[in-house]
């Protein structure tokens, strides 16, 4: 299945001060089991740190996990920096405690997809496989 494509490279990051990392670690396991290469940022990363790693590691996907509710400010700053750095072909996805009513707002900032408390980890895997530049057939 992966033979014609290079392996998808994903940066999973925990921005802000939120320390809840069970979810992000579950997703990392799922992505690795699906054959992707995953880099984990660790807790409490600033937008600048996330951008720096994304560039250095040349990732196809940036996944942010936020359970503290403070996703809007982070999304605004991150998406602005992504445009500045010309990382537009990088797929940005958000996960965590995110209200449905805010999903449209996140997407209008350039976030590709949002996986909240209803999402199943298999949905995340197949979404990335189907939409990441490196993975798309």
């Amino acid at each position: 299945m992966m033979s014609t494509n290079k392996r998808i490279r994903v940066l999973m990051a925990k921005p802000g001060l939120d320390g809840h990392d069970r979810g992000v670690k579950v997703i990392i396991h799922a992505l690795r089991d699906a054959g992707m290469e995953v880099i984990y940022s660790g807790l409490r990363q600033t937008v600048e740190q996330i951008i720096a790693v994304a560039i250095q590691e040349n990732v196809d996907v940036i996944g942010l996990s936020i359970l503290s509710g403070s996703y809007m400010g982070i999304a605004r700053r991150l998406m602005a920096r992504i445009k500045e750095e010309g990382l537009d072909d990088c797929l940005v996805i958000f996960g965590g405690n995110i209200l449905e009513r805010d999903v449209a707002g996140l997407k209008s900032l350039g976030v590709a997809e949002v996986f909240n408390h209803h999402a199943d980890m298999t949905e995340v895997v197949s979404y990335i496989r189907n939409n990441a530049a490196a993975g798309a057939a």
């Binding site: 802000g16 001060l17 939120d18 320390g19 809840h20 990392d21 069970r22 670690k25 579950v26 990392i28 396991h29 799922a30 984990y40 660790g42 807790l43 409490r44 600033t46 503290s68 509710g69 403070s70 400010g73 982070i74 405690n97 209200l99 449905e100 009513r101 909240n116 408390h117 209803h118 199943d120 980890m121 298999t122």
Partner: protein, 549 residues
């Protein structure tokens, strides 16, 4: 099981009257007519070693468990109002939530704090904020549980000073500081300093409180976060016990004996969290087994003479992981089961997740419902009328023994390899739990583990909560309000005094002295959380996470 006449139960305090539907009185406790050696060794009467049946002779017939729900948000004025609301609704203790910047030692005017000020708890920058949170709430009357860890020594200093200002003597204070740093590295993530200096701070608080405010639990060795990170039922008791033993070694290495300080240590055990299936009987058995293991460990391995050292004091709770986002009202039934397990397992205090926990900070309605669940169980179920009501049952005793064996095996394994700390430092425990959490999630995705309303018996019901209806609304004005408060405090300080105090604190950090008195002095001099944390970071360094996944 024979009918009993309260055998073995010493009546220390008057008990509440209770009657069956027939009108016949409910005995406080049932037990064997003629307790044999086996009974005394494994169970004992409630209030007697090894405390399997509870640490008090009369349990909830003497007094009910403390009912508290976690609360605190925005600024001190808002949290003060919420506390008055909860006390007015019959809540008997307070559980205080601090915002993430406060938990991480960042002042509200710090650039890194801007998204989170007052969001998940109240913002506390200085001793003044703490005094305002407890305006009109007498600290000698209400016990307060504080969910604070890395900055616990600073926050406790603020609270002690708030009491001082109310004219309350320190030895009259009742409460608990979570102050459980080792589990922060395992699961909760609000670490600042590396594990070793963090353990010194934990030990400083334990040593100070044992001497000056013995009714303020200096640590709440916590299972809930470990469970939520991905622990099994046995691990979620074994790992906290291992953490507690690490703290104990820190204090015994200062020349103290367990009887000097263990009575100020408490536990927060998990019911209904973790990975794998929930089982009501097994959860009850776990709490009973935990008491027996602790009593035996303290007496046999550490030479405890004081019964209070041997009595495992614990509150119980769970976090949100089993609170489903689909059909969230079903969570009320789940909370009821977990609360029932906690009560039948002999907890001293309960705080359970709320039914909207999967979405946001609980609303007034869901917090009230969580409290009502406890009140219904206390007053309408009868389970609070009989101490350790399941004791002697084939199933519960067998499962208690089984879980005890599982917990003890894990404790012995790590203890024989030098204790748990090196395995936290290397990230081994974190990686183990992450793997287990993933396996649990896969079983839910595969439908192997049933989650009603989520992967079985599902509906297409419209999800009013995801739309945001009825949910708690974050207060966007908290940041500006809090920054103004902080600026006012800073403007009124004598900068020379502040600089001198920071210098003094820095010297104390480099010494081996107990830091608590220095932090209290700093709090009186109106130093901020951020300033004190900055000094400590300078002395202790910053933690670098090992590979955790």
């Amino acid at each position: 099981m024979a009918k009993s006449k309260d055998n073995g139960a010493k009546k220390e305090r008057p008990v509440r009257e209770a009657a069956y539907n027939s009108g016949k009185p409910v005995p406080v406790v049932y037990g064997p007519d003629a307790p044999d050696e086996g009974y005394r060794e494994k169970l004992g009467a409630p209030g007697e070693y090894p405390y399997t049946r509870g640490i008090y002779p009369t349990m909830y017939r003497g007094s009910l468990w403390t009912m508290r729900q976690y609360a605190g948000f925005s600024t001190s004025a808002d949290t003060n109002a919420r506390f008055h609301f909860l006390l007015g609704n019959g809540q008997t203790g307070l559980s205080m939530a601090y915002d993430l910047p406060t938990q991480l030692g960042l002042d509200s005017d710090d650039e890194a704090a801007q998204d989170d000020v007052g969001r998940l708890g109240v913002a506390v920058d200085t001793a003044q904020d703490m005094a305002d949170v407890f305006e009109g709430i007498p600290l000698d009357k209400v016990s307060v549980s504080h969910t604070i860890n890395s900055t616990a020594a600073i926050i406790q200093a603020f609270w002690l000073i708030a009491a001082e200002r109310q004219g309350v003597a320190l030895d009259k204070l009742r409460g608990t500081f979570q102050n459980d740093m080792l589990k922060e590295y395992i699961g909760r993530g609000t670490w600042i300093f590396p594990p070793r200096p963090s353990m010194r701070l934990v030990a400083d608080i334990i040593e100070y409180n044992a001497k000056h405010c013995p009714r303020v639990n200096a640590v709440s060795v916590s299972a809930t976060h470990i469970a939520e990170t991905g622990a099994t039922l046995a691990q979620d008791v074994a790992f906290p016990i291992l953490n507690a033993l690490a703290y104990i070694r820190e204090l015994t290495s200062r020349g103290l004996h367990v009887d000097d300080f263990v009575p100020t240590m408490s536990f927060h055990l998990s019911v209904g969290g973790g990975v794998g299936p929930f089982n009501l009987l097994e959860s009850i058995g776990k709490l009973r087994a935990a008491r027996r293991i602790w009593a035996r460990t303290m007496k046999e391995k550490y030479g405890a003479k004081n019964p209070k050292t041997m009595q495992l004091k614990f509150s119980t709770g769970n976090c949100g992981s089993r609170m489903a986002a689909r059909e969230p009202l079903n969570n009320i039934v789940r909370q009821t089961l977990y609360t029932l397990a906690a009560v039948m397992g002999g907890t001293r205090s309960v705080n359970m997740a709320c039914f909207d926990e999967a979405f946001e900070i609980p609303s007034d309605e869901s917090i009230r419902t969580a409290l009502r669940i406890q009140q219904v169980i206390a007053h309408e179920s009868g389970v609070a009328d009989t101490v350790d009501p399941l004791a002697g049952g084939y199933a519960v005793e067998a499962v208690t023994d089984q879980v005890e064996e599982e917990i003890q095996a894990i404790v012995d394994d790590y203890e024989s390899r030098g204790g748990i700390v090196p395995f936290i430092e290397s990230g081994e425990i974190q990686r183990l739990l992450a793997r287990q959490a993933y396996e649990h999630q896969r079983k839910i995705a595969d439908g192997e583990q049933v989650w009603v309303g989520v992967n079985k018996f599902t509906s297409e019901e419209e999800d009013r909560m995801s739309a945001g209806e009825g949910l708690y609304e974050a207060d966007d004005s908290a940041l500006e309000k809090q920054k103004e408060r902080l600026a006012r405090v800073k403007a009124a300080r004598d900068e020379g005094e502040v600089a001198a105090q920071l210098e003094k604190l820095a010297r104390a950090c480099e010494s081996k002295e107990n830091l608590v008195p220095y932090l209290m002095e700093s709090a009186r001099a109106r130093l901020t959380v951020g300033e004190m944390t900055g000094v400590m970071r300078g002395a202790f360094g910053a933690y670098v996470e090992p590979s955790v996944v």
